[in-house]
Symmetry: C2
């Protein structure tokens, strides 16, 4: 998995921090998580080509998480795209966007399809042979969810020298990668463990923004390799965080610690702060393996 | 008048060139002309504060000229604005935006009002004591207009030393600035020309984008101090310009020359060109007083 942060700002953009958007690449597929205004500009500025992007996930219906959709869809249309775009969001989004899609995209050779989910309970909303996406109900001023991206179990790795030594036909390699033993023409059974090494462990990434501090999410994100959790405020502005139903850096770190995640990425910083180092320091005091997102930052998960 | 170019790109943005938007300041008022995606980001990046912006003019309903409206309106709402925002556009825009305004801006202490105009004939669509705005029907794939901004006649400038020598009371200065003579207590008539110098000539700015080459606009923009005319293509791509109903740099210069304008600003360059110098050179060969717009460029008119 590779994550590219396209926007690390919150409701008010700053010269350096655009509205929320992240591109997650999983086994050659691209998934866009939120799509604030300027998402397409950030993609172009950071050299991100969205030619393998088919699914977009919108966490909640505040403008800083979805106002970039029309521009992105239009630009994909001009780039000669033919595959449909599928948007996963709460039911309210489609009637807000459909009139504009019908008007501005009427000559496009692809459709924009909406798949709606309830923001009130966790559910699997996307499932293919390599990735599963589950919603994580959050606590915000409007209904909001996070998204858990789980890679599915990978195939075992072939030990090339053994495959060659036994002269195993290519047609059998697929089932051997899936764990089958090999039976020679003499009837000898070669156990799979002699022919393969264990698969790379599947990765899990959780995106949680926007949300107030909520221990309810801990079980849903337990042990993920990487958690993106918003940190709109520093702890010195805890009152303001509570009032606006956002989190502080300290709270994000507490969630990461309680859930035993591998790494914490923080972001969605309020425009009132110019520097992000204080956020990273505040979070690291509780959860050392914390990094601060910036626009354009890339993370291998 | 002062013009700030917020976006000099066309349908496809580039890392340096955002979608169309220009801020025109006239006697302490701000007018936004078009509002492509990222207009609010450009304002923030270029240090433009939109606190005197009340009127927005949209030339036509292609996304690269209007997809920044929702984000800009939302941000103005968060900045504590209370004055209404008035959008001047073709009738189709309001039903496309109203559902989003009702949904995302429902708690705002101001209203978004739409004033619609016909794109098919020239008409005065805005008129206050200092500025008048007239539409300029253009020739494009969808109905499109340009906008002519005309400053109204200014007051004459007082000659301070004369005002003091005659000890003219403050209450009379307003009418003297408007051309009145002064009658002393002895009945002596002091002609206005002894007390004032002529007013600064009112300025006129015309914005024409998007449009194919159209001589019909020449009379409407004759003699303006400054013309912004799109130049999506170089003349070597004339065929493509015709096909998409855009203009070449040469054509923009021909229009500027035919209309006898003071200065030509070109922009709306296609993303296929990296450098803008060839546009400027091509236009200057016909109309020497040409400058190329870049994002963030400011022009005194």
């Amino acid at each position: 998995m590779k994550l590219t942060v396209l926007g690390s700002g919150s409701a008010m953009p700053t010269p350096e921090r655009y509205h929320s958007a992240q591109l997650l690449e999983v086994r050659n597929k691209q998934f866009l998580i939120d799509c604030g205004e300027g998402t397409q500009n950030r993609m172009i500025q950071f050299g991100v080509r969205a030619n393998r992007l088919n699914h977009i996930f919108i966490s909640h219906l505040h403008g800083d998480h979805c106002f970039g959709l029309m521009g992105l869809i239009s630009t994909l249309g001009m780039l000669g795209r033919t595959a449909d775009i599928e948007i996963h969001a709460q039911p309210d989004l489609e009637p807000l966007l459909r009139p504009q899609i019908d008007y501005f995209c009427r000559e496009f050779p692809f459709q924009v399809k909406f798949h709606s989910f309830s923001p009130y309970q966790s559910a699997v909303i996307y499932d293919d042979r390599s990735v599963k996406v589950t919603t994580i109900p959050l606590k915000h001023r409007v209904p909001a969810v996070g998204f858990l991206f789980e890679e599915k179990s990978l195939e075992r790795h072939l030990i090339r020298s053994m495959i060659e030594a036994y002269e195993i036909p290519v047609r059998l390699l697929k089932e051997i990668k899936q764990g089958a033993d090999y039976v020679t023409s003499d009837g000898e059974v070669v156990p799979n463990e002699h022919l393969t090494t264990p698969p790379t462990p599947p990765r899990r990434f959780a995106y949680c923004s926007d949300t107030a501090y909520s221990e309810k999410i801990v079980e849903l994100i337990r042990g993920v390799d990487c958690l993106y959790h918003e940190t709109t405020y520093l702890n010195e502005d805890l009152f303001r965080a509570k009032q606006t139903m956002h989190s502080t850096a300290m709270q994000a770190a507490q969630i990461a610690q309680a859930a035993g995640v591998g790494r914490l990425i923080i972001g969605h910083y309020s425009a009132r702060y110019r520097e992000i180092e204080p956020f990273v320091e505040e979070a690291r005091a509780i959860f050392p393996n914390t990094v601060g997102a910036t626009d354009g930052a890339q993370f291998d998960i």
